[in-house]
């Protein structure tokens, strides 16, 4: 979508809602190198949410939406759960249809957009919880990867069914006592990152959302690889502070504790050779872009002084 589409006729500008004026004047549509540092300086794709106070998912949402490389041409697909309470606030087209079918929806969507807009960027990003990704939707998650569908799958892993009140999920740790696991979960946390690698994903990362820089990097990498090569998977720890007995202020510390080198969310990535090549190429281009921008700024400052 070109930014022209949202331009307001000058005569009408004053009567448009301020939200819309902001979207036109201060949105980051079409901005090269957009990222989490834009938060607070531009119109965000999400400003309000209906999650619990202090929920790490809300941080994750903000970082992810700020990091989408082309939000003006991105469609997101969600599923039922806490994320589905947030999507109605999100300023990119997004689809909620059923519980667990997100990767099937995304497969059809991506193919339709490829048929309708050949040669144009139209990114599709799935964002769903661990119940949707690993339990009820596992076959569709994996089959989309087997078929090499060109979209990114993001799993918000809070290690349980949060929205229905804290029941056991496949990504829950072994031994954790929860609803529907009254004597503790009896089997290991499903190793979806490893399964993703074996299923054909070209870029897989397992991490927490404690560091916005890191979230921005992996989101951009995952979307670029999916756009050019094939499926990518991000498993992001977004603990449900409510269901693990933490307070609103303790989400960040919980993530920091869980990403220590010996812990289950220690940073882990897999990148295929094809993806490595692409990411090296993109990094070189980004370096060039930044150098050119710096040079331009310096020249401008010099001209100003003169």
């Amino acid at each position: 979508m070109s930014k022209e589409r949202i331009k307001i006729a000058p005569e009408m500008f004053e009567i448009m809602p301020s939200e819309y004026q902001d979207l036109v004047d201060r949105a980051t549509y079409g901005k090269e190198g957009r990222g989490w540092k834009d938060i607070g300086t531009s119109k965000e794709l999400i400003e309000e949410h209906s999650l619990c106070a202090g929920c790490p998912e809300s941080m994750a949402f903000r970082y992810i939406l700020a990091s989408l490389p082309a939000p003006e041409d991105t469609v997101m697909v969600g599923s039922t759960g806490c994320t589905s309470l947030v999507f109605p606030h999100v300023g990119v087209h997004n689809i909620h249809s059923l519980f667990g079918n997100q990767n099937a929806i995304a497969s059809g969507l991506k193919r339709a957009l490829s048929v309708r807009f050949p040669g144009q960027v139209k990114d599709v990003v799935v964002l769903a919880g661990d119940g949707a990704t690993v339990d009820i939707g596992l076959d569709m998650t994996l089959q989309a990867w087997f078929r090499q569908e060109k979209f990114t799958t993001i799993c918000f892993d809070n290690e349980l069914y949060a929205n229905t009140g804290g029941q056991e999920s496949g990504l829950m740790q072994k031994g954790f006592v929860a609803k529907m696991a009254p004597v503790g979960k009896t089997f290991e946390k499903v190793k979806l990152p490893e399964i993703a690698r074996e299923s054909g994903c070209h870029y897989v990362v397992n991490c927490t959302v404690s560091k916005p820089n890191l979230v921005e990097k992996v989101i951009k990498n995952a979307i670029h690889v999916a756009r050019e090569i094939g499926p990518t998977y991000l498993q992001l720890y977004t603990p449900c502070i409510l269901e693990i007995g933490k307070n609103s202020m303790e989400g960040l510390q919980e993530m920091r504790d869980s990403e220590k080198p010996t812990e289950r969310f220690a940073y882990k990535e897999y990148v295929s050779d094809e993806a490595k090549e692409l990411l090296t190429e993109l990094a070189a281009k980004e370096k060039e872009r930044k150098a050119a921008a710096k040079k331009q700024l310096a020249e401008k400052q010099l001209a100003g002084k003169a």
Binding site: L23, S50, H89, G91, H93, I95, R116
Partner: protein, 402 residues
């Protein structure tokens, strides 16, 4: 928006985009002798489809595979095999959300497996066309003809039509897109037929020219936004209705459900125009009427001929659309009938129940004969049941315990 202006241009496979009314009603037709599955392929060849998603299940596998051949020939934008009917129907939804004209086929247990998707399709206003080649859904496993699955589709909010012949099928696939894509309708269509009887038998079908096709689907005529980021996104609400237990939340859901069903009703005028009425009546003044849908209509016609030899006059009402339900048409057509016979290829007699709920003096309805599990319905069985119902002595038929 753009469809009319595209008339006369060529599509991706070089076919000429044709005014659909002219294509269906005025263009020269040529006869072919094809199976129902081949007829589905020929209709889709001319439907300007963007995406078809397939999954094998008898008796629709052949049609689904033949459409793959169309993709290989360049007539379809994309085509692939999904992993299950539940996934396929979600993939169809994804493609339709993205603004594609979508086609798929299923049958029996596949329809049941995919069921969660259908009210979602209707609620999301996705004008997907799904062919249902009905077969048994019971256990023990059956792959034989049986129309029970149609009854499960009737309350999904989809349009549900029931084709009798391969010719119906050919015409209704193309006309179906024209009805379901109308902005005031914009709903999915389940186009049903009786598996094997229609899909696996050959019949003479008159085809429209292969170099003509329907205008492409225009997703910007949809009553809901197309999910392609080509129009500005809106933040829908501050608090999603799913979270709220209050009047506004209930009223929102209620009014949307009412709107979906209002759209089914609004499809009535388009279906009447394209299908030349929601029902077809032969000898409306007869005191005995056979009212049925699908291939039971064909068998009813044979029974009509048999009974005529015995001096018993029988009329026929063919029900073409089950949703929208032709309530007024059926009331009118049956107003003089003393006996209304409803033969069906299923064990529960869902069509008879619908008719009983529609007409005054419902005790005029005789629900039967019912055959199921793949049994055929010889016209002699219908004729014998009618005679029995009228108190006329009929020869006993072997194997029916009479």
């Amino acid at each position: 928006m753009a469809t009319q202006s595209l008339v006369g241009t060529k599509n991706r496979s070089g076919q000429v985009v044709t005014d659909p009314w002219k294509m269906m009603h005025e263009a020269e037709r040529s006869p072919c002798f094809f199976t129902g599955s081949e007829v589905i392929k020929e209709a889709i060849r001319r439907a300007n489809c963007d995406v078809m998603i397939a999954y094998p299940i008898t008796p629709q596998s052949e049609a689904a595979a033949l459409i793959g051949e169309l993709f290989a020939e360049g007539f379809i934008g994309d085509y692939f095999r999904g992993e299950s009917e539940f996934a396929v129907m979600s993939q169809c939804a994804g493609a339709a959300f993205g603004g594609a004209r979508v086609f798929t086929t299923t049958a029996g247990p596949g329809t049941m497996r995919a069921m969660e998707n259908f009210p979602m399709w209707a609620g999301a206003r996705l004008p997907i066309q799904m062919i249902v080649t009905c077969r048994g859904i019971n256990s023990p496993l059956s792959i034989q003809p049986d129309t029970l699955e149609i009854s499960y589709l009737l309350n999904t909010g989809m349009l549900v039509w029931h084709a009798e012949t391969a010719q119906d099928f050919y015409d209704w696939i193309l006309k179906g897109y024209m009805v379901s894509e109308e902005p005031d309708v914009h709903l999915p269509l389940a186009l049903c037929c009786d598996g094997f009887f229609v899909t696996h038998t050959k019949d003479v079908v008159n085809l429209t020219p292969a170099d003509m096709c329907l205008p492409p689907y225009d997703p910007y005529r949809s009553p809901v936004p197309c999910m392609d980021m080509e129009c500005p996104p809106v933040r829908m609400m501050r608090d999603p209705f799913v979270m709220k237990s209050n009047y506004i939340s209930y009223a929102t859901h209620a009014s949307w459900q009412q709107e979906v069903w209002a759209a089914v009703e609004r499809s009535r005028k388009h279906a009447i125009r394209w299908l030349d009425g929601l029902i077809e009546v032969d000898r409306p003044d007869a005191e005995i009427l056979i009212v049925s849908s699908g291939t039971a209509v064909s068998q009813g016609r044979e029974a009509q001929a048999l009974l005529e030899e015995d001096g018993i006059e029988v009329g026929i009402v063919k029900v073409k659309t089950l949703r929208p339900w032709p309530e007024e048409e059926i009331r009118q057509a049956t107003k003089n009938a003393k006996h209304i016979i409803v033969p069906e290829f299923n064990v529960t007699g869902w069509l008879a129940k619908e008719i009983r709920a529609t007409i005054p003096d419902a005790d005029r309805v005789y629900a039967g004969p019912h055959v199921c599990g793949g049994m055929t319905m010889p016209p002699e069985v219908i004729a014998a049941d009618i005679k029995k119902h009228l108190g006329i002595k009929a020869e006993s038929l072997a194997g029916r315990g009479s």
